[in-house]
C-alpha cells in the first residue's frame, strides 16, 4: 500500500468542454463575420483584426508575467476580446487606436478586476466606449476607400434611418452586408450563421439574444413607423445582431440565473430602443450592453431560482 493513488472527491468524470474549447467555438463563430469584413473592406480589415488580437494577448501575457500570476493566454479569452473589439471598429481607423483599446480592455477592465471571470463590464465594449469618448471623430468615420463610401455617403443605415430615410439601402443589401458600418456588424447573414453555430453547439443559450431581439422589435414597432419592413431594417442594422449574439452573451458579464437572462434580454432591448430612438448614436447597442452589465448583480439577486421542492415557501 505504499504507492500513492489518485483520490479525490466525486464526481470522477469531467465533461470534455472546457473554457478553452468554448472560447475556440466563439472564435469560430466569428469567422464568417471576419471573413466578410476582409472581403468587404479589404486587407486593411484583416490587419486591424490581427493586430488588435495580438495587442490583447500580449497585454494579458505581459501583465500576468509582471504580476507573477499564472499565464492564462492559452484559454483564448483574450483572443475573443480582441476579435470583438476589432470587429467593432470602423474600417478606416488607424490601427494603433484599436491596439490601444486592446491594452485598455485587458489591463484596465479585465486584469485590474482580477482577471477572467471577475470583470463586471465586457472588456471589448468598455474599450470601445473608451475609444469613442477619446477619439470621437475617427471612431465615427464610416467612409471606406475600398468600396468608395466617402465621408458623405458613409452614413450608416441606422444613422440614415434616424433621419427617416430607410430607402437608400435595400433590405437585401442590409442582409448581405453591402453597407457601411463597423467591420463586424455589417453582414447580418454572417452574424446569423455565427449565432446559429453558437446556439446549436450549446455554447450560448438562445435566451439572451432572442429576448433581446424580440423586445427590441416590439419597441421599434411601438415607437417606430409601424411598418414590418421598418422593424426588419432596425434589426438588420446598427450592430444589434452582433451585440445580441456575441456581446450580450458574454458569460462573465451576463446573469447566470435563467430568469435573470430573460430579464437581462428585456432590459437590453429597452435600453437599445431608448438609445436609438432618443439619441442617434450608432453605438446604442454598445451603451445598452455596458449599462446592463452594471445591473447584472442586481438582476441576479432578484432572480434566484427556487430550490427543488421549495416552491411557495
Amino acid at each position: 500500500m505504499a504507492n500513492l493513488r489518485n483520490v479525490s472527491s466525486s464526481p470522477h468524470f469531467r465533461n470534455k468542454t472546457d473554457t478553452k474549447s468554448l472560447m475556440l467555438d466563439v472564435i469560430l463563430a466569428m469567422i464568417p463575420a471576419t471573413a466578410f469584413s476582409v472581403y468587404h473592406f479589404g486587407i486593411s480589415a484583416l490587419l486591424i483584426i490581427v493586430l488588435t488580437v495580438l495587442s490583447c494577448v500580449a497585454s494579458e501575457y505581459i501583465w500576468e508575467k509582471l504580476m507573477h500570476k499564472p499565464i492564462t493566454v492559452m484559454d483564448l479569452s483574450a483572443v475573443v476580446t480582441g476579435m470583438i473589439l476589432a470587429l467593432n471598429m470602423p474600417p478606416e481607423i488607424p490601427v494603433w487606436i484599436p491596439m490601444l483599446g486592446g491594452v485598455f480592455a485587458i489591463i484596465v477592465v479585465k486584469q485590474l478586476y482580477g482577471g477572467i471571470g471577475q470583470n463586471f463590464m465586457n472588456p471589448a465594449l468598455a474599450a470601445r466606449c473608451f475609444l469613442l469618448i477619446s477619439f470621437a471623430g475617427l471612431m465615427n468615420n464610416f467612409s471606406s476607400a475600398k468600396i468608395g463610401f466617402d465621408a458623405l455617403t458613409g452614413a450608416t443605415p441606422l444613422a440614415m434611418a434616424r433621419t427617416g430615410d430607410i430607402t437608400s439601402y435595400s433590405l437585401f443589401q442590409l442582409f448581405l452586408g453591402n453597407i457601411p458600418g463597423t467591420l463586424g456588424e455589417v453582414s447580418s447573414f454572417a452574424l446569423i450563421i455565427g449565432g446559429i453555430y453558437l446556439i446549436v453547439c450549446k455554447v450560448i443559450s438562445p435566451r439572451i439574444p432572442l429576448t433581446y431581439l424580440a423586445t427590441y422589435a416590439v419597441f421599434a414597432f411601438i415607437f417606430g413607423q409601424h411598418r414590418g419592413t421598418y422593424i426588419v431594417y432596425e434589426i438588420l442594422s446598427g450592430g444589434i445582431l452582433f451585440g445580441a449574439f456575441f456581446m450580450a452573451t458574454d458569460y462573465v458579464t451576463s446573469p447566470i440565473t435563467v430568469k435573470g437572462q430573460y430579464v437581462y434580454g428585456i432590459l437590453l432591448g429597452l435600453l437599445t430602443g431608448i438609445f436609438r430612438c432618443f439619441g442617434a448614436s450608432p453605438e446604442g447597442v454598445s451603451y445598452a450592453i455596458i449599462l446592463s452589465n452594471l445591473f447584472v448583480p442586481l438582476i441576479e439577486k432578484y432572480t434566484m431560482p427556487k430550490a427543488f421542492g421549495k416552491e411557495g415557501k
Binding site: 500500500m1 504507492n3 500513492l4 493513488r5 489518485n6 483520490v7 479525490s8 472527491s9 466525486s10 464526481p11 470522477h12 468524470f13 469531467r14 465533461n15 468542454t17 472546457d18 473554457t19 474549447s21 468554448l22 492564462t72 484559454d75 479569452s77 482577471g115 477572467i116 471571470g117 471577475q118 443559450s205 458569460y251 462573465v252 451576463s254 446573469p255 447566470i256 440565473t257 435563467v258 437572462q261 441576479e300 434566484m304 431560482p305 427556487k306 430550490a307 427543488f308 421542492g309 421549495k310 416552491e311
Partner: protein, 472 residues
C-alpha cells in the same frame, strides 16, 4: 409521447456497454471477510459474537444499535478472528467483525425455506426485514424497516421501485432486472401489501430497453404495477428526482418521500426483501459491477458481503495487460462513487461497483477561474446556483451558503462534471454541508442546554418560594 423525467441534469458518458451483457455469476472465496458495524446511514450495530466463536452464514453477528440502524449478518461460515477497527471504502476505520471463512459456506438452519408471505401480517414482515439486516442497497444504506414504517401508512399512494440505475458504468441493477426480475416484482408486491392505497411504479431509464420490456412482461398481469419508462438523464435515480419523474411531486431536503405519499426502494433492495420474506434468506450477497477501461474483464458478480474489493478484482481477471496500476479506483460509479486509496476494503451493503480507470480525469484537468457560464445552474437538479454557492464556500460563509439553499444540494456531482473551468464545486459543497450540519447540531444542543438551565432555575425559584410559604 414524451418520457417522464425531471428538470436539469446531464448526460455523462454512460459506459454501460462495457458490462451490460455480462450475466451475473457468483463469486465466493476463502480468506477473511470483514463486516463493518456501520454500513450506511444510522447508528453502528453492536457485535454479538466474540473472538474465537464459530459462526455460520446467515447468522447475526451484530445487532442494530438503535431505531435507525440495521443488523449485520455473516455471509460465510468460519471463525471470528478479531473485532477491531478496519479501513472502509469511505477512507475511515470502522469497528468491524472479521470472520475467517472455513470455505464451507455452511448456513444456519432454515435458510432457503419457502414462506407464503400473503398470510403474514405487516408487523411480521417488517420484523423479518429488520432481522435480515436489509438497508437501501442502491447506495444510501438507509435501514429499510424504518422506511417501511411511515407515520401514516394509508397516505402512501406510490411505492416506487428504482430501476433507473442512472450512475454511469453500473449494470448490476440492469442484470438483476433481466435475470431476477420475478424477485423484484414479488418484493414490490410484498411491500405494497403493507400499504393498501399504494400503486406500484417501476421506474427504468430508456437506455435499458430490454429491462423495460422484460419487467413489462412480468407485470402484464399486475394491474396495480406500472413500469414507467424514464428519459435517460443523470441523476434520475436520485430519490427526489425519481419521485418527481414518476409522480410530478416535489420534496425538499427536510421532507421525507412519505410526505409526498411515496416510498422509494431500489430494485436490488426489493429483491433482497423477497429473499428475506419469501425464502428466509437474510442479506448476505450483493451483485456488483466490475468495470472501467483499466480492467481486463468486466463483470457483474454476486459476491458475499465482507469480500475484499482487491480480491474480487483479482478473481475477475485484474487489470489489463501492460497496466501496472490504474489511474484511479472507485467504489461505486464515477459520479457519486468513492475514490479508493486502498483496495483491500470490504464490500458493504450499499456497495455497487468497483471501477478502475487508466486516467484520472480529475487530476488531469486542473481548476481554472469561474467564467460564469451558467452551465452549473442549467444542470443542477435541485435548481441551485452552484457558482455562487462556491463563492460562499470559498469564504467559509456558512450563512450565505445556507441562504443560497446549499443544504438542498444532493451532492450529485452534475455541476462539477459540467463545469468548463473544472471547479471542484460538489466537493466544496460536501464540506460546507458537513460544517453547517455540525453547526446546527451545536446550536440545537446549546438551545437545549439553555432551556434546561432555565427550567432548573425556574424549579429552584419555585422551591425557594414554597419554602418561604412553609416558613410562614
Amino acid at each position: 409521447m414524451s418520457l417522464s423525467t425531471f428538470k436539469g441534469g446531464t448526460h455523462p458518458y454512460e459506459g454501460k456497454e462495457l458490462s451490460e451483457d455480462k450475466a451475473i455469476r457468483e463469486l465466493s472465496f476463502d480468506g477473511d471477510y470483514v463486516f463493518p458495524m456501520s454500513q450506511g446511514i444510522g447508528a453502528p450495530a453492536k457485535p454479538v459474537v466474540n473472538v474465537g466463536d464459530h459462526v455460520l452464514a446467515g447468522q447475526k453477528i451484530a445487532e442494530a444499535g438503535g431505531f435507525v440502524s440495521a443488523n449485520v449478518i455473516s455471509s460465510v461460515s468460519g471463525t471470528v478472528k478479531i473485532i477491531q477497527p478496519r479501513m472502509t471504502t469511505g477512507g475511515v476505520a470502522v469497528n468491524s467483525v472479521v470472520v475467517t471463512s472455513d470455505g464451507l459456506f455452511e448456513t444456519i438452519e432454515g435458510i432457503g425455506t419457502e414462506r407464503d408471505w400473503t398470510c403474514l401480517d405487516k408487523e411480521t414482515i417488517v420484523g423479518i426485514i429488520k432481522d435480515a439486516g436489509i438497508v437501501g442497497i442502491g447506495g444510501a444504506g438507509f435501514p429499510t424497516h424504518v422506511k417501511l414504517m411511515p407515520k401514516n401508512p394509508d397516505a402512501i399512494e406510490f411505492f416506487i421501485a428504482n430501476g433507473s440505475e442512472c450512475e454511469p458504468m453500473l449494470t448490476s441493477d440492469y442484470r438483476l432486472m433481466l435475470e431476477e426480475g420475478e424477485k423484484i416484482v414479488e418484493g414490490l408486491k410484498i411491500c405494497m401489501s403493507m400499504f393498501p392505497q399504494a400503486k406500484g411504479i417501476i421506474g427504468i431509464e430508456n437506455n435499458k430497453p430490454k429491462a423495460i420490456e422484460h419487467m413489462k412482461e412480468l407485470c402484464a398481469h399486475e394491474p396495480n404495477i406500472e413500469v414507467k419508462e424514464l428519459l435517460t438523464k443523470y441523476p434520475e435515480g436520485g430519490e427526489r428526482q425519481l419521485i418527481n419523474a414518476c409522480t410530478g411531486r416535489f420534496i425538499n431536503s427536510s421532507m421525507l418521500p412519505a410526505d409526498a405519499g411515496c416510498i422509494v426502494d431500489n430494485v436490488a433492495t426489493l429483491a433482497a426483501i423477497y429473499d428475506a420474506v419469501a425464502l428466509s434468506t437474510p442479506l448476505m450477497q450483493k451483485v456488483i459491477t466490475v468495470s472501467g477501461d483499466a480492467v481486463k474483464e468486466t463483470a457483474n458478480v454476486k459476491v458475499r458481503l465482507g469480500s475484499s474489493y482487491k480480491r474480487i478484482l483479482d478473481e475477475v481477471g485484474g487489470l489489463k495487460e501492460g497496466i501496472e496500476d490504474a489511474g484511479k479506483y472507485l467504489c461505486g460509479g464515477p459520479m457519486m462513487g468513492q475514490a479508493l486509496f486502498d483496495l483491500d476494503v470490504p464490500v458493504t451493503k450499499p456497495s455497487s461497483a468497483i471501477c478502475a480507470f487508466i486516467h484520472d480525469e480529475v487530476s488531469e484537468n486542473p481548476t481554472t477561474a469561474c467564467i460564469r457560464c451558467g452551465r452549473c445552474v442549467d444542470v443542477c437538479p435541485e435548481f441551485l446556483v452552484p457558482a455562487l454557492m462556491q463563492k460562499a464556500a470559498a469564504k467559509h460563509d456558512l450563512e450565505k451558503f445556507e441562504e443560497l439553499n446549499g443544504m438542498e444540494c444532493m451532492e450529485c456531482g452534475s455541476c462539477s462534471y459540467i463545469c468548463p473551468a473544472r471547479r471542484p464545486l460538489t466537493q466544496s459543497f460536501k464540506e460546507m454541508r458537513k460544517l453547517v450540519a455540525a453547526q446546527r447540531k451545536i446550536k440545537a444542543e446549546e438551545r437545549k442546554l439553555r432551556e434546561q438551565q432555565a427550567a432548573a432555575a425556574a424549579a429552584a425559584a419555585k422551591e425557594a418560594e414554597e419554602k418561604k410559604e412553609d416558613n410562614k
